[in-house]
Structure formats: structure tokens, C-alpha cells
Amino acid sequence: VTALTSLRRVSSLWYLILFAVSATGVIWQLVLFLQGVGVVTGAGGQLPGHLTLLVRFFSYFTTEANILVAVTSAPLVLRPGHDGPVWRVLRLNALFGITVTGVVYSTLLRGIVELHGAAAFTNTLVHYLSPLLAVVGWLIFGPRPRITENTLMLSLIWPVLYVAWTFAHGAVATRSSTWTGSGMSTSSGTASSSTWC
């Protein structure tokens, strides 16, 4: 029981760190984004309005995956064996979302925009640390088993909605600006391909 209690403490600490990393990363990136750091601009270089920036920020797959990680990690800080039907679905969403975020960013998107300072730091939080801590934490601490076939089916709602939203958003954004095209420019560099992550 002592070993299990120690495991519980380490698990709580792990998920506290994961919560801090993902939440801090998202909030800090939002602040930077609203200041125009890393924002894709139109041909004239002008920044979009705050509402447009907010919609764009929360449309990034990375943002949504990290929010899911933060939301589903928080209960595990207090109860390492936390469970619940909705939490199970969100937890699986967080796990496969953050896995894809980490893998896709580190293999395909890493060199597209050169980041410095706070932008580079928050980028490390949401694209590297959060995926690593989430997946390793799940492997070591679980909690398991929490996934059923039904959980998997329900967890597909989020990615389907995400893609539907991306189609609609992309159609509107393409008409009103150039940010979805290839060779887009950002306030901090030049992107070489269309990026939704």
C-alpha cells in the first residue's frame, strides 16, 4: 500500500506538471498571438482584428489538443484513478490529439516558421513537452483500463467536427484573406505551406 501511495503521489505530481505545461502553453501562446506574434497576415502585412485572431487561435489543432490535455489532466491531480463516461471520451481525444500534434509537428511542421524568445518557449511547451508528458504519463500511470470500443466511437465526434469546422472556416478565410494559401507570410517569418496546426 505504501508503494501504491507513493505511485499515487508521483502520478499526481506528473499530471500537475502536465496540466501546468499545457495550460501555460495555451494561455501564453494566446497572449502572444493577440500581440501578433506568429500571426499569418494578408498581402499588405496588416494584422487581423482580435475576434478573427481568437477564432484562428482556437481553430488550431494544437490549441484544441492542449486544452483537452489540460482539462483531462486536472482531475488526475486530485484523483489518479479518476473515471467517468464523458471524461473517458475527452481523455482519449486528448491522448490521440496530442500524439498527432507531437508527431506531425516534429516531423512535418517544425521548420516552417522560425521562432524566437517566448514564442519558441511556448512552442516547446505545446508541441514537445505536452505530448511527451501526456503519452509517457499515460504509459506509466494510466489510469487504465479506461477505453472501450464505445469510447473510441464517441471520441471520433471531435475530429469529425474539427474537420467540418476547418472546411467552413477555410472557405470563409480563403475568401477574406490569403492565410490559407501556400507561401503565406507571418509577422515573424514566412511559412512555406498551408498550416492548421
Binding site: 500500500v1 484523483r79 483500463p145 475530429p159 477555410g170 480563403t174 498551408s194
Partner: protein
Amino acid sequence: VDRLGYVDVIRNGLILNLVLIGVGALYLYLDHRLPATPRETGAGLEAAAGP
């Protein structure tokens, strides 16, 4: 002619969903293959029974 890049968006969306389904299925598989984690009871923590 797909000037606005809809084909790209649809293709990328489908690829993303397929990848997510694949990764989700992998988690489902591992969730049952890996040892269960300890579960909490009213008295505290106890080692969980195997899957």
C-alpha cells in the same frame, strides 16, 4: 480548377481523421494490453486485477 485549395483541405482533413482513428485504435489496443493501474476503493488504493 481548384483555385481556393478545397481539394487540399478535404484531402488533409480525411488524412487527419484516418490518422486519428488509427492512433485511437492503437490506444484502445494498448489500453487492454498494458497492465491495469491500481484502483481506488473506499479504504484507499489496492492493486487492480488483471484485464
